[in-house]
Amino acid sequence: MGGDTRAVGEGRMTRALPERSEHLERAIRIRRSLTNHLVTGLAILSTMIVLVPLVAILGYLIYKGASSLNLAFFTHIPAPVGEPGGGMANCIVGSGIILAVASVIGVPLGIAAGVYLAEYGRGGWMGTAVRFTADVLNGVPSIVMGIAAYGLIVVHYKFSALAGGVALAIMMVPTIARTTEEMLATVPHMLREAALGLGIPKWRTILSVSLRTATPGIITGCMLAFARVAGETAPLLFTAFGNNFWSFKLTQPMAALPLQIYVYALSPYDEWHRLAWAAALVLIVLIMLSVTLVRLYASRGTIKGGH
């Protein structure tokens, strides 16, 4: 950087310095300053550009969705093709049932795996291998989970809510395992030592001290995973398959909110488009609630709150 030239110039070498050097020095400074301002401007601009789709999507969604939402949406099942009216009550219930199945399988497995990673697998190669595999599994496209559940369950038992639940469960396990591990790692080691010093066996220490202290964070981790799979469509395409009527049986095809939105959006009927918007709004509201709750916890420092 050319800051020193002047100092040197003020010494003995003033007469020897050509004019050009000062020009060069100024040019460099201007260029550096310009680049800086350019990049800064670019950054600010980019941020504004990025906010546009977000506002556009959310705003449009609320506008279209709110105008389409009515009580019938929550109480009726879809009307026959072409007829007006109808709702998505069965989809809301169906999503609930599938998510319940997924949670019953995924949450305990995920938490237990997280406990292993945090309390038993800290240093060894097994812990590292499980951790890495879980992270990689999180990046696998959800449709592949659908294929897996199809091949394991649907092929033998036909389309069912159970298959859909299993597909979603295998998405939840790695996510919950990693967030549980993170939360348990924040429990100070001192507390475990205090419990062990009292002669409390390790398993009891984990249950009554580690898990109990980390409970709020673990719950929010589960909620994040839940919100993520609640909006998934691809794994349900050929597992739960969808259903236009009321169904509560786990061994039958079942309706789900994202599935119905997908089908309706691609259809040519205006009435179905209207319902799709309403459903999208309901889905978004539920997911936003979870994300906001997680953010609230994050600001309390209990969990490293995602993005």
Binding site: G139, V140, R178, T233, A280
Partner: protein, 348 residues
């Protein structure tokens, strides 16, 4: 090492304990109920072992999940693999009705749409990351991070719905003609333009992968020790130079990892892409023409696939997709881990 003599000395002046403290108790009182209870309890070794075993099994379930997925994919694609071999991925004619299964159009569609999405998303993501960690006033950081998180939380099908209703008409009626007029000489933007096609899908993909690239880049840049930045500033660097020298140089590897993670996400994105890409297995230069991706063809045709060969071919595509995303994600995770030392478990 010196030991005191066994003779008990008179108690030290400082202590006010009675003299009897030096002599053994003449009568040892019986152990209390508490002591008896505790001493009678088992050491819990069996319970410890079982509990640890249970947790281990849960952890192993993650391997089991991967194994099950692989088994289904490999087993159910055998028919197709035996029938077509490597030609499957070189053939460009996908016509199941007439028994022709060439998967090249899907590879083309996946690669091009992901590449275009990266092209649009990465510069934006880096600029925003730069903005958030340095320029942005601290009060705004929370809200912006929150907004980025909201973007990431929107389900794929909702993106698709919005794109179908809002983006497609824009590409068809407004942006399309403008781009054809000024950029048509490249051959990339031409008629016919129905709105649904490679370009629209790439834009939606870009919006969807932006949050993950942005937040991981942010994490990676924050993980660079602050004294690197301070050193650059102390040498007289401008803000951009401080970023370039103090942060980017160190975080390069992690940022590459973030980009590759975004790539992994783009490769596997299914629903939103299926809704706006046109679902037509053609390899065309025109970016406005309909295309097809590996994930889309599975989503679109699986439930209507007639015949075991058809299903098997689709599952083979699923296998390819699985392997590619696993490799891409593994590389990305290793790069990110190298910089952040595994501190964050970003799972989205």
């Amino acid at each position: 090492m010196t030991q005191s003599s066994p003779v008990s000395l008179p108690p030290p002046v400082v202590s006010s304990a009675p003299a009897s403290s030096e002599q053994p108790n003449p009568v040892t009182p019986p152990p209390s109920e508490i002591r008896r209870f505790l001493q009678a309890r088992s050491s819990g070794r069996w319970a410890d072992g079982s509990f640890g075993g249970l947790m281990l099994m849960a952890a192993l379930s993650i391997f089991v999940i991967v194994a099950l997925i692989l088994w289904v994919l490999i087993h159910d694609s055998q028919m197709s693999i035996h029938a077509f071999g490597w030609k499957f991925f070189k053939g460009s004619n996908w016509d199941p009705v007439n028994g022709s299964f060439g998967a090249l159009p899907f590879i083309y569609g996946t690669v091009v749409s992901s590449f275009l999405a990266l092209l649009m998303a990465v510069p934006l993501a880096l600029c925003v990351a730069f903005f958030v960690i340095d320029i942005c006033p601290p009060r705004l950081r929370g809200p912006i991070a929150f907004l980025t998180e909201l973007l990431a939380a929107i389900p794929s099908v909702v993106y698709g719905l919005w794109a179908l209703v809002v983006l497609v008409p824009i590409v068809r009626d407004q942006a399309g003609p403008v781009m054809e007029k000024y950029l048509g000489w490249t051959g990339l933007f031409a008629e016919p333009n129905f709105g649904v096609g490679m370009f629209t899908a790439s834009v939606v993909l870009a919006i969807m992968i932006f949050p993950i690239i942005c937040s991981i880049s942010r994490d990676v840049m924050k993980a660079v020790p602050i004294h690197q930045r301070e050193a650059a500033l102390a040498l007289g660097a401008t803000r951009w130079e401080m970023l370039r020298i103090g942060v980017l140089r160190n975080a390069r590897i992690g940022i590459v990892g973030a980009v590759i993670l975004g790539l992994g996400r783009a490769l596997g994105e299914t629903i939103a892409v299926t809704m706006v890409i046109g679902n037509h297995p053609d390899i065309l230069k025109n970016l406005f023409s309909p295309a097809y991706t590996l994930a889309s063809v599975i989503a679109n045709e699986f439930t209507e696939a007639t015949g075991d060969l058809y299903v098997s071919a689709l599952i083979e595509i699923g296998l390819a997709l699985f392997l590619v995303t696993i490799v891409v994600n593994a590389i990305a995770r290793m790069l990110v881990w190298a910089v952040t030392r595994g501190q964050s478990a970003r799972v989205a």
